[in-house]
C-alpha cells in the first residue's frame, strides 16, 4: 500500500506508534515533508473530522486520534520549518472581556488544531488590547472571538473597532461565535464570519483563508 495512505489510515485508527513508524519510514524514503503532512496526516484527520461531523464519532474518540496526528507532526514539523513550509493558517482565539465561558471556545480551538491550523488560545476574559497585542505579535490570518452572555457579546464590536483604529483590520479576518451570536449580529458589527458550532468554524476558516489566498494570488 502507498506509504502516505498507510499514514492516513493509521491516523484515522488512532494508532500512535504505527503512525510514528510510518512517518519515519516516509522521511527515510525521501518523501517530501509537505506531502507527508497533507497527503498523509491531514488526509487522515480529515476523514476523522468528517466522521465526527456526521455523528459517527464522539469528541473524546477524536482526541484519542489526535494523539496519533501529534506523534506524526513531532517528526514532520522540524522538516517543514527547514523547507520554509507555509502554514495552513494561524488563528488567535479567545473569549471576550468579562466572559468566563470557555468550553465552546476550547472546542473550536481543538477542532481547528485537529484540522492542521496553528492556534493561539488567549483564554477567557480577553480585553480588546490583548487581542490587538496578539495580532501584532502573532500575525494571525484570523482572530476568533467567543461570547456566551448578552452583556459580553457587545465587546466583540469593541475589538473590531480597536483593530480598525490600529489599521490592523485589513490584515486579519474576524470570526465570531457563541450561544447569543447570530449571522445578523456578525454582519452588524462587520465581522467576516459567524459559525454556529466548532465543525462549521473549521469550514468557515477554510473558506475565509481560501478566499484571502485567492485574492492575494490575483
Amino acid at each position: 500500500m502507498d506509504l502516505l495512505q498507510d499514514i492516513a489510515l493509521n491516523v484515522q485508527s488512532g494508532y500512535t506508534e504505527k503512525t510514528r513508524k510510518a512517518v519515519e519510514q516516509a522521511v527515510a524514503e525521501g518523501i517530501p515533508a509537505n506531502d507527508i503532512l497533507h497527503k498523509g496526516l491531514i488526509a487522515g484527520m480529515n476523514v476523522v473530522a468528517e466522521r465526527f461531523k456526521t455523528g459517527q464519532m464522539f469528541l473524546p474518540e477524536v482526541l484519542a486520534v489526535a494523539g496519533a496526528m501529534k506523534a506524526g507532526m513531532t517528526i514532520v514539523r522540524p522538516l517543514l520549518e527547514m523547507t520554509n513550509h507555509e502554514s495552513l493558517g494561524k488563528i488567535v482565539i479567545g473569549t471576550v472581556r468579562g466572559d468566563m465561558h470557555d468550553i465552546g471556545k476550547n472546542l473550536v480551538a481543538i477542532m481547528l488544531q485537529g484540522a492542521g491550523f496553528d492556534v493561539v488560545d488567549l483564554g477567557t476574559d480577553v480585553r480588546a488590547d490583548k487581542f490587538i497585542e496578539a495580532v501584532e505579535r502573532e500575525h494571525p490570518d484570523i482572530i476568533g472571538m467567543s461570547a456566551l452572555l448578552t452583556t459580553t457579546m457587545v465587546h466583540m464590536k469593541g475589538v473590531i473597532e480597536a483593530l480598525e483604529k490600529k489599521n490592523l483590520r485589513e490584515k486579519v479576518k474576524v470570526i465570531i461565535g457563541g450561544a447569543p451570536i447570530s449571522r445578523n449580529y456578525a454582519q452588524e458589527i462587520r465581522a467576516d464570519g459567524y459559525a454556529r458550532d466548532a465543525a462549521t468554524a473549521v469550514d468557515l476558516v477554510r473558506t475565509l483563508l481560501n478566499s484571502t489566498r485567492a485574492t492575494a494570488a490575483v
Binding site: F58, G98, I110, G123, T151, T152
Partner: protein, 459 residues
C-alpha cells in the same frame, strides 16, 4: 462544621413535586408545603454593563419585574419567586448588584401591598473567583468582593442566597471534553466538594448575619456543560448521565454545612438531593427551553417545589416581552401541578411526567424516582467524598445497563460501548481516597493549584 447525611430522607413514593419533608416558610410564602410555585428569572438584552449604562440597566430591570408581576396578578397567581442572577459586572461591582436587588425588592413589596402578590427574591452572585488566573478560591480580592456582593444583596432584600459555584472546574472542563470519568470524580467529588465546604460555610454565616436563607448551589458548570455537549453530539449521553450523578456528591455539601434549600433551578442533581435531604428544590424543564435545550423537559417537574424558566432576556416576541411569556408558561405549568395535588392525583401526574421522558434518554432515565432513590442511597452509604463519587458512578452505570437490557431505556450501540468503557475505568480506580487524590493531584498538577482546595494528598 460539616454534618454528613448518612441516610436518605425520602423514599421513592414520597418523592413528589410541591412537597418536601422540610418545607420552608418566609414572609408568608411556604416552599415545599403542598404546592409548586413559579420561579421567574430574567436578564438583560445585548448591552454593555458599565457605569454609564447603569441607569438604562436599572430601567430594564424595573420594566421586567413590573411586567412579570403584572402578568402574575392578571393570571390570579398568588405567590411567585423571583431570581436575580447577577451578571459578572454586578458581582465585581457589588454596589450595582445591591442597587438592583433593592429595586427588585421594592417593586415586589409594591405588588404585595397593592395586589396581594406574595413573593420571595433569590439572589445569585457570579462565582467571580475564576476571574483570577489560576483561580484563587480562598483568598484575594475576588473572594472578598464575592462575599461583599452576597452581604450587600442580602441586606438589600435578597431572601435566599444561591450561587453556581465552579470549584474543580479547572479539572472537570478538560475531563468532560476527554470523556475522562476519573477526572470527573476528582474534579467534582474531591475538589468540588472541598470547595463547596469552604464556600458554603461562608455563605451560611452570611445568611445568619443577615437573616437571609442559605438556599443552595448547582453543578451547572459540570453537569449542564456535559449535558449540552451531549445534546450537540460531542460526548455520549451515558457519560453526561454519570457526570450528573457524580455532581450530586459536591452539591450535597452545601446542605451538609447548613443550606436548607431550595436548591438552584438548573441543578438537575436536585432530584437526588431532595431524596437525601428532604429540603425543597427548584427545578426547570420544558419551560426553560428559552435558556437551553435538554432531554428532561417533563421528568424534571416530578421533583419541583419551585418551577423555573432558568433565564430569558428582555426581547420582544409576538405576544409580548420574553420574560412575561416565561411567567405565563410557568404559571400554567404550576396550575396543572397544583390542580393535581388538590384532586389527590399528584402521584398520577408525577408518573406521567416520568413515563413520558424516562425511556428516551439516559439523562431522563436517572431522574426516575426509583433510580433517584438508588443513587441517593449509594451516596449516603459512603462517608468519604471519593467513596461517594465512585459508588454513585457505579450505580448509575449499573442501572443504565440493566434498564437497557430490559427495554426500559433506549441506548444506541455507540453509547452502549461507553458503558463498558466507564466500567473499565471504574474498575481501575485505587482503593483509597488518599491514593486516588495523590495520583490525580500529580496528574493535574499543571491544571490547578492544589493550595486553593486544601485536600489531603498524604496520610
Amino acid at each position: 462544621m460539616r454534618n454528613r447525611f448518612t441516610t436518605a430522607a425520602l423514599d421513592s413514593g414520597a418523592l413528589l413535586f410541591g412537597t418536601a419533608k422540610f418545607p420552608l416558610t418566609r414572609r408568608g410564602v411556604t416552599i415545599g408545603g403542598g404546592s409548586v410555585i413559579p420561579e421567574i428569572n430574567f436578564t438583560l438584552p445585548p448591552m454593555d454593563v458599565e457605569q454609564g449604562s447603569m441607569e438604562e440597566v436599572k430601567k430594564i430591570y424595573l420594566e421586567m419585574i413590573d411586567s412579570v408581576c403584572r402578568r402574575a396578578v392578571e393570571l390570579h397567581q398568588r405567590e411567585i419567586i423571583v431570581e436575580f442572577e447577577l451578571l459578572p459586572e454586578m458581582t465585581l461591582n457589588p454596589v450595582w448588584g445591591e442597587e438592583i436587588t433593592a429595586l427588585l425588592q421594592r417593586s415586589l413589596e409594591e405588588f404585595l401591598d397593592r395586589d396581594g402578590l406574595q413573593s420571595l427574591l433569590r439572589i445569585t452572585p457570579v462565582d467571580i473567583r475564576e476571574t483570577s488566573k489560576p483561580p484563587r478560591r480562598r483568598e484575594g480580592r475576588e473572594v472578598d468582593t464575592l462575599f461583599d456582593a452576597f452581604r450587600r444583596c442580602a441586606r438589600a432584600g435578597g431572601d435566599m442566597l444561591s450561587i453556581e459555584s465552579t470549584g474543580g472546574k479547572e479539572v472537570t472542563d478538560p475531563s468532560i471534553i476527554a470523556g475522562d470519568l476519573r477526572g470527573i470524580i476528582f474534579g467534582a467529588a474531591i475538589l468540588g466538594s472541598a470547595d463547596m465546604e469552604y464556600l458554603w460555610e461562608q455563605i451560611c454565616s452570611i445568611g445568619k448575619e443577615t437573616g437571609s436563607i442559605p438556599a443552595g448551589d448547582t453543578a451547572c458548570g459540570i453537569g449542564n456543560t456535559a449535558m449540552i455537549l451531549a445534546d450537540q453530539g460531542y460526548v455520549p449521553k451515558v457519560f453526561a448521565t454519570v457526570v450528573r450523578a457524580v455532581t450530586a456528591v459536591r452539591s450535597l455539601v452545601a446542605y451538609e454545612v447548613g443550606a436548607v434549600g431550595p436548591g438552584k433551578d438548573c441543578g438537575y442533581e436536585n432530584a437526588i438531593l431532595k431524596a437525601i435531604t428532604g429540603f425543597p428544590m427548584s427545578l426547570e424543564g420544558k419551560s426553560a427551553a428559552c435558556a437551553h435545550f435538554s432531554a428532561i423537559g417533563n421528568i424534571a417537574g416530578a421533583y419541583a417545589d419551585l418551577w423555573s424558566n432558568e433565564s430569558v432576556q428582555q426581547v420582544k416576541l409576538l405576544s409580548g416581552m420574553a420574560p412575561v411569556v416565561s411567567m405565563e408558561q410557568l404559571i400554567y405549568d404550576c396550575r396543572l401541578f397544583n390542580a393535581a395535588v388538590n384532586k389527590g392525583s399528584a402521584g398520577d401526574l408525577r408518573d406521567l411526567l416520568v413515563d413520558s421522558d424516562a425511556l428516551l434518554d439516559p439523562q431522563a432515565f436517572i431522574l426516575r424516582p426509583d433510580v433517584v432513590r438508588s443513587l441517593a442511597k449509594a451516596i449516603v452509604a459512603e462517608r468519604e467524598d471519593y467513596g461517594r463519587g465512585v459508588r454513585v458512578a457505579w450505580e448509575a452505570v449499573r442501572l443504565m445497563k440493566d434498564a437497557a437490557s430490559h427495554g426500559e431505556l433506549l441506548i444506541s450501540d455507540r453509547e452502549g460501548s461507553w458503558l463498558e468503557r466507564m466500567e473499565l475505568e471504574l474498575n481501575g480506580l485505587p482503593a483509597t481516597s488518599m491514593q486516588f487524590v495523590s495520583e490525580e493531584t500529580e496528574r493535574w498538577s499543571d491544571a490547578f493549584d492544589c493550595t486553593q482546595y486544601l485536600v489531603e494528598t498524604h496520610a
